[in-house]
């Protein structure tokens, strides 16, 4: 993977897209969990959300570098 991508002639770190993808992913997870009332089973929803985001973001980082 290239570490930087030319977006409209501006070099943008690929990690930024990883960040965006991870944000989208966590929004989707969040929506699903809320939709099906699954947050009942989680002790600390906020921490879970952050952890899920961190996992996805780290994965994308591993994949890029």
């Amino acid at each position: 993977m290239p570490r930087e991508i030319a977006l409209l002639d501006a070099l943008v770190p690929t990690l930024l897209f990883g960040f965006l993808a991870a944000s989208c992913g966590s929004l989707i997870i969040d929506w699903l969990l809320t939709r099906y009332h699954l947050y009942r089973y989680i002790w600390y929803p906020a921490l879970f959300r952050l952890a899920a985001f961190a996992c996805m973001f780290a994965l994308s980082g591993l994949w890029i570098y």
Binding site: A10, D30, L33, T34, Y39, P45, A46, L47, R49, L50
Partner: protein, 721 residues
């Protein structure tokens, strides 16, 4: 033995006081303490991250934290979202403007002024965080666009750095507020909803029990209006949170509407009872009061108000029973009235009963929705979800335009100063001037707000001076840096937790963080600092003067305009080809007054006039709407004619309230009532339903008639002022 006993009991007593103190501390002070900690943590975290990433201005990230941090997580999310949106829009516009007019400063500044004016106007139209987003889209242009116009080759860098810093600030703020001692917005909403219901039940009970006219009920009513809007804003922010709020969103909104209806009917009934006491037949007043007392019993449980959803369900049942037996009750009391009552006095009774029934009905709906909160079954179908009831926007177009002009003028003055004197701190002054002259446009009394901000700015400047030239010079490494900025952050945050002086706190924050003397290295310079400080204070002063000159909120003129607009609502209710919905009327009237901020300044004579007009508008407007809704059902050309002339007369009176027109309107309604009564008594063969409808119309007409006749009504007192 006894000594030991004594010691033991004393010890337990002491423990008792200790635990009481602890619980009080936990309830009152601990949240504030936690909040201070959260803000400090988030801003230091933001500072560390931006230093780590070697961004140009860590202060922007810290400032972002200071601005979006609020005690409830949902509010932080909502404000962050709009801050991000506003910044992105502002930066895009800056890029466009720099690309178009970088060489031509007059054109550049003109289009900038135009944009800022538009954004300020937008911020007046929308509420809360959305309004903030508009303000931000405006002043980002000063922060990004101006430096970029001076050195166009750096534009892209400036923009990207600004976005990154703001993002860092937002991420830190949302993360900290969500993870560390999260305070859910839903709890606040729930507490507010419960509080409101029990407060209203209390109010109803006290007014039912005390026969004397209560002046304070007006103020309580106004507080309720304020509550409607704060609840609405909480509800809007709570979407960002993930618990009960999401599932109950529609219900809360529904409840707000129902409550508005309840509040207006309640006020109308209050007024009617007052008039009845003052110059009605005492027997009629007494039996109405008895029925009212029964309603107040139906809404309470053993003399107390319902405190939670379960109790509200019980109240709902009681109200249902009350409504069901209402007609019977009414007939009973009617029989008991003395025989020699005139037709008018009977009408008095019927009108009161009609209003009572309406109130009971609305209360029932309100209590039912309240009771259904938190129940997991999803009784709202998807079609209802689509038609989410929303509070609509109603605003005074001229006030909005003037606010826009004010922002533009401040920018104009500051830029003129900058260009003419070749002032080095010009950009700083423009930025602060635009921020202050647009940010407070929506506050209830901008003059007071800007004074507070000025005080904050002075304190902020002093503490920035101390920090820059006494503390930072000796600081080594991140922790020393953190230590140097901590006292001011804590102090400013503490001030922001006190609603009456919150603006002082934000003033300190903004000015202190704008002057803080480091980016990746120490770079404070006394000369620049003093120049910038003078520029800031001057800019705040200029916008203070502008708020004083273009004073939308507290001038006599603007209040008269609001009163006229309120009267216009009645005219519209009378004349509009489509029958206005009751909710529309309430919405429009409340929103107008809420925006004008009169509700917060009820103590002032002039504002009381606005409030009186509001209440009179609601009172007469709702009766007019009820009449118009009855019209197609009765569907009789003769009746339509009568109604049309009365409505016309009411509309004319509300266009220009004069004594002559009032008497004319009274005559028209009198005529209608008489003809209708004759019609009813002559036409014996009329079916039962049609008869009831006619009596209903009659009672509404009578209600308007007595409201117009009322010597204390604002329609009468208007003349004397």
């Amino acid at each position: 033995m006894s000594v030991l006993h004594l010691i033991k009991s004393r010890k337990s007593k002491q423990l008792m006081t200790c635990s009481a103190a602890l619980s009080e501390w936990l309830k009152e002070d601990a949240p504030v303490f936690g909040y201070l900690l959260k803000v400090l943590l988030a801003s230091l975290f933001a500072m560390w991250l931006s230093l780590k990433f070697e961004l140009d201005q860590p202060r922007t990230a810290m400032l972002t934290v200071a601005i979006v941090m609020q005690s409830r997580s949902g509010m932080v999310f909502a404000k962050s979202y709009y801050r991000l949106l506003g910044t992105l829009v502002g930066i895009t516009v800056s890029l466009v403007l720099v690309a178009l007019f970088a060489q031509e400063r007059v054109l550049f500044l003109l289009s900038m002024a135009l944009w800022i004016g538009l954004c300020t106007a937008g911020s007046m139209v929308y509420r809360n965080h959305q309004s903030y987003g508009f303000v931000l889209a405006g002043y980002t242009l000063c922060i990004v666009g101006l430096p970029a116009a001076i050195s166009p080759e750096l534009t892209f860098n400036i923009a990207v750095t600004r976005i990154s810093e703001i993002l860092i600030g937002l991420i830190c703020a949302t993360m900290v507020s969500d993870l560390v001692f999260p305070q859910r917005l839903w709890d606040v909403i729930q507490a507010k909803v419960r509080q409101r219901f029990s407060d209203f039940s209390d109010l109803l009970r006290t007014t039912a029990q005390s026969s004397a006219s209560t002046k304070s009920s007006k103020q309580v009513l106004l507080r309720f209006i304020g509550d409607i809007y704060s609840l609405e804003s909480f509800r809007a922010s709570a979407i960002m949170e993930n618990d009960g709020a999401k599932h109950n969103r529609i219900r809360i909104s529904e409840m707000n509407k129902e409550f508005m209806a309840v509040a207006t009917t309640f006020h109308a009934l209050e007024e009617l009872l007052r008039r009845q006491r003052n110059n009605g037949h005492p027997e009629v007043g007494a039996s109405l009061a008895t029925m009212y007392l029964q309603l107040s019993e139906a809404i309470s449980l053993n003399g107390n108000s319902a405190r939670n959803e379960q109790e509200a369900a019980l109240v709902t049942n009681q109200l249902a029973t009350f409504s069901n037996s209402f007609t019977q009750n009414m007939t009973f009391y009617r029989m008991q009235l003395p025989q020699n009552l005139s037709e008018r006095e009977l009408l008095d009774f019927e009108t009161g009963a009609e209003l009572l029934q309406r109130l009971a009905h609305e209360l029932h709906a309100y209590a039912a929705t309240y009771a259904s909160i938190n129940r997991s079954e999803n009784k709202l179908s998807s079609s209802e979800t689509l038609a989410t009831p929303k509070l609509e926007m109603h605003f005074d177009a001229i006030a909005v335009a003037l606010a826009g002009v004010r922002g533009t003028l401040t920018l104009g003055i500051m830029t003129a100063l900058w260009l003419l004197t070749d002032w080095r701190s010009g950009i700083e002054a423009i930025t602060i001037g635009v921020i202050t002259s647009t940010l407070f446009a929506t506050s209830p009394s901008p003059n007071k707000t800007i004074k507070q901000f000025m005080i904050g700015a002075i304190i902020g400047t002093v503490s920035a001076y101390i920090c820059n030239f006494h503390l930072l010079t000796q600081a080594q490494g991140f922790w020393m840096l953190a230590l140097a900025v901590t006292p001011t952050i804590i102090f400013a945050t503490w001030l922001t937790t006190k609603p009456s002086i919150a603006v002082v706190g934000s003033g300190i924050f903004i000015v202190f963080l704008m002057h803080i003397g480091f980016n990746s290295t120490y770079n404070a310079n006394p000369v620049t600092f003093l120049n910038d400080a003078i520029a800031d204070l001057l800019a705040v002063l200029v916008s203070g003067v502008m708020y004083g000159l273009i004073d939308i909120s507290s001038s006599q003129w603007s209040r008269r305009r609001i009163a006229t607009t309120l009267r216009g609502l009645v005219v519209k209710a009378c004349k509009s080809p489509l029958i206005m919905k009751r909710v529309q009327l309430e919405n429009a009237a409340f929103d107008l007054v809420q925006r004008a901020g009169s509700a917060q300044r009820i103590a002032e004579e002039q504002d009381r006039l606005v409030i009186d007009w509001l209440l009179s508008t609601l009172e007469i407007g709702h009766a007019v709407i009820a009449l118009r809704e009855l019209k197609p059902e009765i569907n009789h050309p003769y009746f339509s004619d009568l109604l049309l002339t009365s409505l016309e007369a009411i509309a004319v009176l509300h266009e220009t309230p004069t004594e002559a027109l009032r008497i004319k309107a009274l005559h028209a309604i009198d005529n209608a009532i008489e003809n209708l009564t004759l019609d009813i008594s002559n036409d014996i063969a009329m079916p039962e339903a049609a008869h009831a409808l006619r009596r209903q119309a009659l009672s509404m007409l009578h209600f308007i008639h007595s409201a117009l006749l009322d010597e204390e009504s604002v329609l009468v007192t208007q003349e004397k002022i």
